[in-house]
C-alpha cells in the first residue's frame, strides 16, 4: 500500500519542458531514500496548468508544484515527503478568483469539467482508475437497460452538437446511419487534430483515452456498427501509444470484443495513423486516407452516414464529441442541458494561445464572454500591451476585436457576426503585432495545406500570397487590396471543400476591421512611385 501518490502531468506540453527527466529523477531519488514502496509516481494527463514548466501534485495533501526541475527533486523528497513541509517556492497557489475543488488544480474563472473530468486525476494507462471514476458505467447501462433508439433519443434530447467545428447535431447524424440497413457500418473517431492553436483532442486522448473508447462503443450500439477506427495524426505519437494501450486493456477486461455485458452487441476498435496532412481532418478526406489513398475530399452527397468508409454507412465524430457521450447517457439529457446556453448546451473546451499570460486548455460552459476567457481565465495580455484581436476557431476562424469582448461565446452568437467556435482555439493577438504579417502567415498556411484538388483553392491561395507579398514589398496598390477581397469572396463561394471555403474567413475579417493597415502599405507605394 502506498501512503503517498505523486501525480506528474505527462502531456506533450510538460514533456517539452522536461517532465520525463523529472520523473526519472523522482524514481531514482525515492529509491535512494528507501521510499519507493511508500510513494508511487503516477503519470497522468494534463493537470490544466500550462507554460509553468513541469507540473506535479502530491496526494493525499493535494499540493501542486510547478516549474519543477531535476535539481528540485531531492528537496521535494526531503522536505515534503520526509519532513512534511511544503516547498513553498515551487508551490502553485490559487490564481485570483479561483474556485477550490477538492482534488483538482486551482482554476481561475468559471470552469466546469465534463469532458476533461478525469484528465490529470486518473492514470490514463490504468483502466481500473477509469472504471473507479464511473468508467464504462454508461455502456453497461445502455447495453442492459436501453435500446439503441433510446441512446439516440437521449443524445438528441441533450442537444449535443459536433465539437469538430461544424456543430452539426450529433444525434441527427446518428439517425441517418441507424436508418441504413447495411450489415457493415463503421464508427470513426476523428483525432486528426491539426488546426493551428488547437490541442484539446490531444489532451483528451492523452488524459482519458477510455472515455473515447466508451463513447465510440456507445455510438456503435446506437447506430448498429460493430467496428470502429480511431484516426490519429501521425505526429501525435504519445496519443497513439496511450490509446493503443487503452484498447488492449479494454479488450482484456471484456469491454471491447464479443457480446459486451452479456448482450448480443459486439464492438472492436483499431487505430489508424495519419501521415501528415491537414486536409485529413475533413471527414471524407479522412476516409480516403484510411482507405490508403491521398487524403482528398470527396464529392458530397452522398454523405458518410449513408456511404462512407469502403462504401458503407459511417459515422465520423470528433474526439471531444465522443468524450461527452458516456456522461450524457449516465447523467441524462436534462443534466447536460443545464450547462451552457439554450441553443448551445453543454461545455466547450477551448485552447487559449498567443499573447496571453495563462495559456492552455480550459473547459467552460457555452456562452462565456470573450472578456472572461481572456482577462479572467487567461489573466490578460503580457507586458501591459493592449488587446488587438482574437481569432476564434483556428486559422480558418473568424476575427474578433475589442468590440466583441462582451459577446457570449456560443454557436448562435458567433454565427450572427459571421464567425464560429470552430475547433475552439482562441488565438489572442496583442496590439504590437502587425495585422498584414499575420494575414500573410494565414495565407502561407492555406497555400501549403491546400490539397490541390480544386482550382479555386490551389490557385487562389497562391495568388492571395502573391498579392500580399506585393503589398508588403511596397509595390502594391489600393486596387490590389480590393482584389484580395474579391478573390477571397469568390473562394468562399466556389471552393470544393471546407478548407477553401473557410480560408477566406480570417482574411475578410482582418480586411473588415483593419483595412487601413493594408491600404497604408498600398498608399505608401503609390506616393513612392509618384
Amino acid at each position: 500500500m502506498h501512503r503517498t501518490h505523486i501525480l506528474i502531468a505527462m502531456d506533450a506540453h510538460t514533456i517539452a519542458q522536461g517532465a520525463r527527466s523529472v520523473k526519472e529523477a523522482l524514481q531514482r531519488e525515492l529509491a535512494l531514500a528507501a521510499l519507493a514502496d511508500e510513494v508511487r509516481v503516477v503519470e497522468t494527463g494534463s493537470l490544466g496548468i500550462y507554460n509553468k514548466g513541469v507540473v506535479l501534485v502530491i496526494f493525499p495533501d493535494a499540493v501542486y508544484y510547478t516549474g519543477v526541475q531535476v535539481q528540485d527533486v531531492s528537496e521535494i523528497i526531503s522536505e515534503h515527503l520526509i519532513k512534511g513541509r511544503v516547498v513553498e517556492r515551487l508551490q502553485y497557489t490559487d490564481v485570483p478568483g479561483a474556485e477550490k475543488v477538492a482534488g483538482q488544480a486551482p482554476r481561475a474563472g468559471k470552469q466546469v469539467r465534463v469532458v476533461l473530468k478525469n484528465a490529470g486525476i486518473i492514470d490514463p494507462d490504468n483502466i481500473e482508475e477509469y472504471i473507479a471514476h464511473d468508467g464504462y458505467e454508461a455502456l453497461g447501462k445502455a447495453l442492459t437497460a436501453m435500446k439503441p433508439q433510446d441512446v439516440i433519443a437521449e443524445v438528441k434530447q441533450s442537444g449535443l452538437q459536433g465539437r469538430g467545428g461544424a456543430f452539426f447535431p450529433t444525434a441527427l447524424k446518428w439517425e441517418f446511419a441507424a436508418r441504413e440497413t447495411s450489415k457493415e457500418k463503421y464508427i470513426i473517431c476523428n483525432a486528426d487534430e491539426g488546426e493551428p492553436g488547437t490541442f484539446k483532442d490531444r489532451l483528451i486522448l492523452e488524459g482519458d483515452p477510455h472515455a473515447i473508447i466508451e463513447g465510440m462503443t456507445l455510438t456503435g450500439y446506437a447506430v448498429g456498427a460493430d467496428k470502429g477506427f480511431i484516426y490519429i495524426r501521425g505526429e501525435y505519437r504519445m496519443s497513439i501509444n496511450r490509446m493503443q494501450k487503452a484498447i488492449e486493456q479494454a479488450r482484456a477486461h471484456g469491454l471491447l470484443g464479443k457480446n459486451l455485458f452479456g448482450s448480443n452487441f459486439s464492438f472492436d476498435l483499431e487505430i489508424r495513423e495519419g501521415a501528415g496532412a491537414y486536409i485529413c481532418g475533413e471527414e471524407t478526406a479522412l476516409i480516403e486516407s484510411i482507405e490508403g489513398k491521398r487524403g482528398e475530399p470527396r464529392d458530397k452527397p452522398p454523405f458518410p452516414p449513408t456511404e462512407g468508409l469502403w462504401g458503407k454507412p459511417t459515422i465520423v465524430n470528433n474526439v471531444e464529441t465522443l468524450a461527452n457521450i458516456p456522461q450524457i447517457i449516465l447523467k441524462g439529457a436534462a443534466w447536460y442541458k443545464s450547462l451552457g446556453t439554450e441553443k448551445s448546451p453543454g461545455t466547450k473546451v477551448f485552447t487559449m494561445v498567443g499573447n496571453i499570460n495563462n495559456p492552455g486548455l480550459i473547459e467552460v460552459p457555452m456562452g462565456i464572454t470573450l472578456r472572461e476567457i481572456v482577462y479572467e481565465i487567461g489573466q490578460g495580455i503580457p507586458g501591459g500591451k493592449g488587446f488587438q484581436l482574437a481569432q476564434m476557431g483556428g486559422t480558418t476562424g473568424g476575427i474578433l476585436t475589442a468590440e466583441h469582448l462582451d459577446l457570449p461565446m456560443s454557436v448562435e452568437c458567433l454565427r450572427e457576426i459571421g464567425a464560429g467556435l470552430g475547433s475552439g482555439a482562441l488565438l489572442v493577438v496583442d496590439d504590437t503585432q502587425n495585422v498584414v504579417d499575420l494575414v500573410m502567415n494565414f495565407v502561407e498556411f492555406f497555400n501549403h495545406e491546400s490539397c490541390g484538388k480544386c482550382t479555386l483553392c490551389r490557385e487562389g491561395t497562391g495568388r492571395l500570397l502573391e498579392l500580399l507579398e506585393k503589398l508588403t514589398d511596397g509595390k502594391g496598390t489600393v486596387q490590389d487590396v480590393a482584389l484580395i477581397e474579391e478573390l477571397a469572396k469568390i473562394m468562399m463561394k466556389g471552393a470544393f471543400c471546407g478548407l477553401g471555403q473557410a480560408a477566406p474567413v480570417p482574411i475578410l475579417g482582418c480586411l473588415k476591421y483593419f483595412r487601413a493597415e493594408f491600404e497604408k502599405l498600398a498608399k505608401t507605394a503609390g506616393s513612392a512611385a509618384a
Partner: protein, 158 residues
C-alpha cells in the same frame, strides 16, 4: 543491389489489415530511411497497387519523403500561434546557424531544416521538433544551444 527482403516482410505483416498502404509506407521508410523509386516499385509489385497511385500517396503526406534527409530533421513551427510568439526570429537564427534554407540538408548530412504542421504545443510556443523530441518556449539563443548539442552528439557518433 538494395536488399528488398524487408519490404516483402512488411507487406506480409499487413496481410490481415484492410487498405494498409499508409502503414506499409511508414514501416518501409522507417526501415530504409526514405521512399526511393526502387522501394516504391517493390511495394507496388507486392501489393498489386499501381506504382503511380503509390507515388501519389508517398508525395501527398508530409511525413513521407522520397529523398534522403539529414540525420537530424529539424522541424520548426511557423503557424499563427508560434508566429505571434516570435517564431520568425527563431527560424532566422536557426537558418543562419545551420547555413540552410527550408528543405535543405547540410553537406555533412547532419541536419535537414523543414517546417512542421502545428504540433499542438501552442501553450509553450514557439516550438520545434528534432526527430521525435520536442522543444518549447524557444528563443533564438535557446534554439542554437539545442542545435549545438545535437551537432556535438552527431559529430561524436560519426
Amino acid at each position: 543491389m538494395q536488399d528488398l527482403k524487408k519490404v516483402d516482410e512488411i507487406v506480409k505483416n499487413y496481410s490481415m489489415t484492410k487498405t494498409p498502404l499508409i502503414y506499409i509506407l511508414k514501416d518501409v521508410q522507417k526501415e530504409y530511411g526514405f521512399l526511393s523509386e526502387t522501394l516504391l516499385t517493390r511495394v507496388a509489385k507486392m501489393t498489386n497497387i499501381p506504382l503511380s497511385e503509390i507515388y501519389g500517396v508517398a508525395t501527398f503526406y508530409s511525413l513521407f519523403t522520397t529523398e534522403a534527409k539529414g540525420k537530424y530533421i529539424v522541424r520548426c513551427c511557423n503557424n499563427a500561434p508560434c508566429h505571434v510568439k516570435g517564431s520568425k526570429a527563431v527560424l532566422d537564427k536557426i537558418k543562419e546557424y545551420l547555413g540552410l534554407e527550408m528543405n535543405e540538408t547540410t553537406p555533412d548530412g547532419l541536419f535537414t531544416l523543414e517546417f512542421t504542421s502545428c504540433l499542438g504545443l501552442c501553450a509553450v510556443a514557439p516550438v520545434m521538433m528534432i526527430n521525435d523530441e520536442v522543444y518549447g518556449n524557444l528563443t533564438p539563443e535557446k534554439a542554437v544551444s539545442i542545435l549545438k548539442d545535437y551537432k556535438m552528439k552527431g559529430l561524436a557518433n560519426a
